[in-house]
Structures are given as C-alpha cells and as structure tokens.
C-alpha cells in the first residue's frame, strides 16, 4: 500500500500561532496510509527541505503531503526537491494550504486546528490517488514563420533573423511592405513613409536568415509549439524570379494597360505583367493571370519576346511546400472597410471625388498618380474646398464596427495639414465625433493643424449629394446645434480598419481565436498581449486590433522577442498535467473536441482487439503539445474518458468524499 508522508510546517509563528501544529501532525498520523509525519519550523528553508528529503528516503515514502503555505507559493519548489533529492515522483505531492487559507484568516487555535486537519485529510486522500507524471522535453525546430509582410511582419522577421534564426516571411501579395509604402508621410513627424519603410523591405530581402515567399498563403498547420508543420502554397508567378532582373521591359510592352492599380488605390493603371511600385520587394515582375492575354486567351506572348533574360514562363504552376517551424508570428494586418456598400448616403461610390484616406495618401504622394499635386480624380482640378469625414464605419455599430480604429484621428489631422500645405488658399472642414490624440507629439500635431486653418465640426455628415458640380455635405454641428451644409470639391473619408479577408480561414488554419469583431485574440489582454492561446503562435500589428505604426512596430518586436525566447531555449518542457483519454471508454462523440479552446483534441481512428475481435472505431486523441490542462473537456465528456492528469475525477472525488464524510 502507499506510504504517505505528511510534513507540517510551523512557518515560525505564521502557522503555529493559530494552528496547533503538533495536533495536526498527530491527527495526520492516523489518516489512511500515512506512515510518517513530521513538523518543521520552516519547511521551505534549506534545512527544512533537507529533512524532508531525508525522511522520504529513509522511510521509503512514495507520496508526500506538505501542509504549509499556498501551493501557489512553493509547489514548484517542493516538486523540484522531490525530483532532485528523492526517488518520489514530483507529482506525488499535494500541498495543504494551512497558512494563507487557514492560520492567517483565523484567530483562534480552536478554529484553525480542526480546519487544518481537514485540509490535510483532503490532501492525503487526493495524493493517494495521484499517479506518477513525467515531463518531457520536446525539441523546438529553431526556425520561425511570419505570416504577413507588412511593417509588423517585416520588423518581426528582421528581429528574429537578427537573433540568428532562419525566418520564412510569407506574403500573399506580389510584394512585401503591406500598407505602409502606400502612405505619403507619417504623423506626427511627417517623415516620408516610403523612405523609412522601403529600406526595411530591402533589408529583409537581403537578410541571409530571411526567406521571402510572396504570392503565398498558408494552407495547413499541423503539430504544436516548437514543431509546426506548415504547408505553404506559393502561387504561380509566370516569371522565373531567378532569371528576372526587374528591368521592366515587359511592363513597357505589355498591351494590357488598363488594369486599375491596387497600389495606387485605383487612381491609376497598371499592366498585366507588372511590379506594383518601383521599390517593390522582390524587385521582380509578375504576371497577373486574371488579365494576361496569353493566359486568358492564349494569344500574345509579347513579354516573353521582349524579356532578354528569358524569365517568362506561361506554364508556371503553384508550388506547395511543407516545412517545420518552431514558432509562428501572425501579422496579417488590416483592410479598410468597404464604405461604398454601407454608406449609400455618401454616394455609395457614385461620386469619383468622394475618396478614402488611403486614396488621398496616393494623391498627395510625389510618386503617386498626380505626382504629389492635389488634383481631384474626376477632372484633375485642384479642389478648393475639402471635407474630411472621420469615423466612417468606426464607432458606428449600426453600419460598420463598434470599435475605434485608433489611427484615423491623427491621419485626418495629417490629411488636413497636408492639403492646406499644398493648397494654401483651400478650405478644409473636418467632421469629427471625437479627437483622440494620445501619443507622443500627437496632440501638438493636432493643434498645429487647427492653426493651419482646418475647421473642425463636431458631428457626422448625414448626406452627400451633387449640385452644380459641388459635393454638398450636409451634417450637423452639434456644438452650435446647427445644420451645416458644405459645398465641397472633394470629400475624404477616414474609414475604419477591419480584419482582412481570409482572417477567419487563417484563424482556423493556425488555430487561434478571433474576437467578435474578427481581430485575432491575444492570450491575455494585459499580461500576454502578443501571445495567443495556441502556444508558439504570436501576434504582431493590426492583426490583433487597430493600431498605428509605432505601436505596430513595438508589438512586432515584442512578438519577435517571445518567438526568440522559445527558439533560443531549443526545447519546451511539456506540462504533464494535461488531459488523458481512456480509449476504452471513449465513444468518439467529439464533445471534447467541440469545446477545447486550444484545438488539442481531435478524433482519430483506432484499431484494437476487443473481446477477441478486431475493432476499428473513432476515439479522441490529445495533442500533448497543445493541451494546457484546463480540464473543461473532462466535464463535457460524459463517460469520463477524458480525465485531467493531476486533477483527475478520482482525486477530486477522494477530496470531496474525505471532507464530506469527516
């Protein structure tokens, strides 16, 4: 039978003051299977620990109960003691919390002592049903995958690569960079966005530890922290990147010239074989199969003829590769809300001069379609009156989203400032709900915009219609309580950030959660802001929620440092207190699979001999790398086939009954 040792700590007078420790020890000695009892002045002290180890070894104990302070305090310490100084499995330990939850909250030994005895009895009962558990070290594949190559992904990739680990940077567009290169200037310092972003892009491209995969998407993720097997589909580019020199000859000769440019937000055109913008990385051309005549109709082949490098390959196919990574950083960024669909009162896209903020960025950019001159799209005239509307889609649960997109207040101020700078005689009205400028130098910047002459009106624009070549913006100035109507030449909508298309699929693929608005959910909003509930998967940038560039870059660094920490260690210590499936009881109903927040459970086919017959049936299986040991599945499992090691049904039942019967 088991041989249980009970060690009762006096903790100086912390415990002994209100608990009669000798009486507890005496009572413990009569408990089932208790063969050794001792008391200690300070159990956690070195001599205290040594005496426990000695007692365990001399008396051949196999289960240990320590009645002392909270297990949250010293459980790890005592487990370590058992592991290092005795032959007892460190999980054959239970701690009766007779300090925080007994001696410190009771004043009288007459009350504290019997309670301490009951707590010890419960711990003795539980420890007797404990089984040996073993941690294993799972080696970590020392490579990282970064999904999304906007500024967040690039930064994370660079940080990880600088730490010496190979990184694969996956981007579904033809170039890395994301949204940042589209921006003209960045607030509040007004430095050129492309000037600070493109060097990062080049650095990533040139980094020996970084492999960039553009036009690529993650199709499947299997495995768990330290060992994710990731399948990536790299779409056909129809251009051999090894041969392409990026000379641009093909682009010049391509007959398909009327394709709206994504990079310029539809304000200019591109060709079917193209590079989205001059500084694109990789600096190679790609054929857009949806528009290429050769690929759609089978006749053309101009680019192939002009390409001196012979890089054009119309027979190119998708390449699917599976590789193993230790950590994953998800940095899939954002999209702007499709305002045209939800704001018919703003023309719903009918008026070419109602543009989004990102289109405005392209308009004021020196390398944009207007070479930096503010010319409105419809007639290429300089608008003399511009209305900027904030919170289009944001903070508007009826039409758009309920949250604040955080960057638009500054972005709107920047646009007003840029417009007034370029058109000194222009008038700029900004309709706003609130002005939120918390950030270093942000409020100062807003003040400067006001000084520049921007007119801020508190209220939403209720309608935009065209009259006499003007866009009439009707709104309410709630401060003066008047209906305001502005005849504008151009309207800029500062639209909400929303999760990009495909975020839901990616969440399922990588197995991370999304909040109600669709942003990926961090493991803890305060304490684990870049981790996810899936160990080894980290979040960077706006994938986690709207934020501006400084926050994005900071978070990317944080995510990278978490990934680096994991990769540096080289192994993960598996938590043995996880769910265990008794396949004899499992009927494969999948209730556990449905509720596991970590995707640690799956249904698999099992073949076994049962009653002299070979039977194949479906049972649940636990992925030890993913399970975090919450135990929610053990309750969902009606027959109790799923049980939590360390907090098993039997152990808890022992505690319950021991207390109930006493």
């Amino acid at each position: 039978m088991s041989r249980i040792g009970v060690f009762v700590c006096r903790c100086g007078t912390n415990i002994a003051g209100t608990v009669d420790v000798d009486a507890v020890a005496q009572a413990a000695s009569l408990m089932p299977n208790v063969v050794y009892v001792d008391t200690n002045k300070y159990t956690c002290s070195d001599p205290g620990q040594a005496s426990i180890a000695e007692a365990i070894n001399e008396n051949n104990l196999d289960h240990v109960v320590i009645a002392s302070c909270s297990p949250r305090m010293h459980e790890a310490l005592f487990r370590k003691l058992l592991a290092e100084k005795t032959n007892v499995n460190p999980y054959q330990l239970e701690i009766a919390n007779i300090r925080e939850q007994c001696s410190w909250v009771h004043k009288d030994k007459a009350i504290g002592t019997p309670k301490a005895i009951e707590l010890v009895a419960m711990a003795v009962a539980k420890v007797d049903s404990n089984v040996d558990l073993h941690t294993t070290q799972i080696p970590v594949t020392r490579r990282a995958l970064v999904i999304g190559a906007g500024i967040a992904g690039i930064q994370a990739a660079l940080d990880i690569a600088d730490a010496g680990f190979p990184v694969t940077l996956v981007e579904r567009e033809t170039t890395i960079g994301g949204k940042m290169p589209m921006l003209d200037k960045t607030f509040p310092t007004m430095d050129c966005s492309a000037c600070i972003c493109t060097p990062k892009m080049s650095e990533a491209a040139a980094h020996p530890n970084i492999t960039i995969k553009t036009l690529s998407e993650v199709e499947k993720v299997e495995g768990y922290v330290g060992n994710f097997d990731v399948t990536i589909r790299e779409k056909a580019k129809y251009v051999d990147y090894d041969k392409c020199t990026g000379c641009g000859q093909c682009e010049e000769k391509c007959p398909q010239r009327k394709i709206p440019s994504e990079f310029n937000q539809g304000l200019s055109f591109r060709t079917a074989v193209y590079k989205p913008f001059p500084q694109a990385v990789p600096s190679k051309s790609t054929i857009d199969p949806a528009h290429c005549r050769m690929l759609t109709k089978g006749t053309c082949g101009v680019c192939s003829k002009v390409c001196q490098a012979g890089a054009i390959n119309y027979d190119d196919v998708d390449r699917v590769t599976t590789e193993r990574y230790g950590a994953i950083v998800v940095a899939t960024g954002y999209e702007l809300i499709n305002w045209a669909n939800i704001y018919p009162e703003y023309g719903g896209g009918r008026y070419p001069d109602v543009i989004s903020g990102l289109q405005f960025e392209r308009l004021v950019n020196a390398s944009g379609p207007t070479e930096g001159h503010v010319l409105r799209p419809s007639d290429r005239k300089e608008p003399k009156t511009v209305v900027i509307i904030k919170c289009v889609g944001s903070r508007d649960p009826h039409k758009g989203v309920s949250y604040c997109s955080r960057a638009c207040c500054m972005y709107a101020a920047k646009h007003a400032h840029q417009y007034l700078d370029k058109v000194p005689d222009g008038r700029c009205y900004v309709f706003y709900m609130d002005v939120r400028c918390a950030g270093k130098g942000y409020d100062e910047f807003y003040m400067r915009t006001l000084q520049d002459g921007a007119i801020y009106l508190h209220g939403r624009v209720s309608r935009i219609y065209e009259r006499d070549g003007k866009l009439v913006c009707v709104g309410e100035d709630t401060l003066s309580d008047q209906v305001v109507s502005v005849n504008a030449d151009m309207v800029v909508l500062e639209t909400a950030m929303v999760p990009p298309e495909g975020a839901g699929t990616l969440a399922t693929t990588v197995n991370i959660q999304r909040g109600p608005e669709g942003w990926f959910t961090e493991a803890h909003p305060k304490l684990r802001p870049v981790e996810t509930n899936t160990a080894g998967v980290y979040l960077a940038g706006t994938a986690q929620g709207p934020k501006d560039i400084p926050d994005t870059v900071a978070q990317a660094g944080a995510a990278a440092s978490k990934a680096i920490g994991l990769l540096c260690r080289g192994y993960i210590q598996s938590n043995p207190m996880i769910t265990h499936i008794d396949t004899a009881k499992c009927s494969g109903c999948g209730a556990c699979v449905d509720i596991c927040p970590y995707g640690a459970l799956s249904l698999v086919e099992m073949t076994a001999r049962e009653n002299s017959r070979k039977v194949t049936r479906v049972v649940a299986e636990v992925n030890a790398g993913l399970c975090q040991g919450c135990g929610a599945c053990t309750v969902a499992c009606r027959p109790g086939a799923a049980d939590l090691l360390g907090f098993g049904d039997e152990g808890i039942m022992q505690e319950v009954e021991t207390y109930a019967y006493r």
Binding site: L30, P32, V35, A584, E610, N611, S612, E657, Y661, R662
Partner: protein, 356 residues
Amino acid sequence: MIISKDNMGALADAIGATQTVYVPGTERAATRFVAHKKGEPVVLGGANVRMPPKDLLFPATEKMYRWKKHEGQLSLETEAAAHEPFTVLGVRPCDMASVAKLDLVFLTKGFVDEFYQARRDAATFVAVTCVDPDGDCFCEAMGVRLDAAPAADVLLVDRGGAYEAKPQTEKGEAAVAAWAEALGAGADAAAGDAVEAHCTLNPAAAKAEERLRAEDFDNVWHSVADYCLTCGTCTFECPTCYCFDISQDVRADEGARFRCWDSCMFTQYTLMAGNHNPRADRASRVRQRFMHKLRYFADRYGEGLCVGCGRCIRDCPAGVDIAAIIDAVATAPEHELTEAARTVQADEAKKEAAHV
C-alpha cells in the same frame, strides 16, 4: 380452518401482534408485499403483485460485513445473520415455487448462504391458491399448479367467500393453531367449493427444454436481441433471478461490503479486469438469460428456473415475451446440433458400440 375473505385484515392484525406480516399492497410505485399496518384491509385476490416476495428473503441490498482500519490495523466485523420472525401472507403458487428454487440456490450445492438461511428460517409463508391468472400467466406450463404450493407453510384454498387454511409444515401447524386462537373459533361458515382456475397461456416448455439441450437457437437469440433493451426490468421483477454483485460503501478508513442484485442483462455483469467481456454483445446476454432460465438451471438442479408468473412479459418495455420464445424454440424447424450435443451423441454412440 375456514376464514372469511372479509376477515383477512383481522388475520393480518392477529399475526402482526407478534411479528411483522407482509401482505399484498402498494408502495414505491408498485404493488408488492408491504408491512401490514394494523386495521388496514387485506385483499388476497385479483392481479398478483408486481414485485415478487424475493426481496423478503434476498434483499436488493444486504450488508455482509464491515471492515475498519485503525492505526494501520485491519479488522473485520461480520453482520449478524439472525433475523426476527415474519410472515408473508397471500403468496401465489408461482411465487411460492420461486421460493423453493431460491432455496436450491442458496441452501444447497456445498455452501449454505447464511444470510438467506437466516431470513428463510424466520419466514412463515402463507400461500393462497390462484383463481385469477391473466393472459400472460403460464405457470402451469412450468409445472406449477394453481391450487397447490408445496413450499408454503400454510396454503389458503380459495373457497368462494372464504379461505380454507391448510397447514403444510410444522411451522404452519403452529401458525394455524395460533390463528384459530386469535380469531376465536374461526368457523366462518360461508365456504363453498374450492375455486378452480387454469392458465390460458400454455407454451410448450418441456419440448423447448429438450430442444435447447440439443440444438443451437442463435437466430432466436439474435432476433430477440434485435429489440431487447437489455435493461434489468425482467431480472429485477423475476421471482427467481438471484444473481448478485458484491460491492462496498467506503467512508474513509472504514467500510461495509454488501451484496446487491445484479442482472445478467447488464454489460458490466461479466466484464473482467482488463476490459475483456465474454458476453459483450446483446445476443449472448439474451441467450444466457433464457438458457439459464430454461435449461442451465435444470442441468444443475434438475428443474427449470422459470415459474411462469408472467411478470417479465407484462412489464418488459420492449415486448420481450418468454412464452413466445418458448414456443418459438419448441416449434422452430430443426436446427443444427450444438457442438456440446454432438459430443454427447458421439459419446453415447461410443458407449453403445463398446456395449455391443
């Protein structure tokens, strides 16, 4: 001694003065033998009680011994087997026959079950002839007479408005003498002729037993298993099912081991450590139940285990009908012989050859 049917309450009161007397009544959602309360009327006719008197001799849960550990020392304490005397009034011939079968199980073949014996010794059974078998009763086919109950201490013969009490054992003699004393002369006059009755259902049990000894009826068991729920209703309501499990109630350092009814219909019944179960499928459990009732028990004790009380037919939620099964077996087209039967035949042939 003749006792008017109206006087049954008084009789129960009289017996109840010195010991517990169990009479047909309703308790816990079923008709069963309940402890008689003084002054309440007692009616012995009509439909038989749904729960047989089995639990009076063999309770559903019965403590066997207690154990205790004190300072690491294990000690055992047996439960007293002795039992206060009691009387069961109004047992039908079928149920009385079942008591005789339980006696075979618990009191013969080597070991005597002390707990059963104590209750059996304490019991006085007063049987009553059966005048109202219903459409599911088939006791006559199982060798039970409606007008006799040999295992009873006293038999009450239904004579219209009154019962004639016939003592059949020493205990019965004493009981009837005591009743006569308690009820006065007891010369209730209104006794007519003994009422005669017979079952309308008469499955061919003898033929079935004979064929079960020689042939496999797997198709029958499988077709029954196609609708049997394998719940415990039939076995718990059966007056002769006696299977039990031994389990325990543990409270910290002490506990009691008890036995409780079990059912061969349950999967767990034969489940062994390591999850092997020789009777994992329903058909094999159905087979076991009916083979045990109709043949195995006879192999061991010389008589079948079914008394034809019809309870399992009446209350089966799935419509399993032992009478129909008996007939199905008896009238089935000829089957292949079982391996065991073939062995027996071969042996006999060998012996004959040797003889010649």
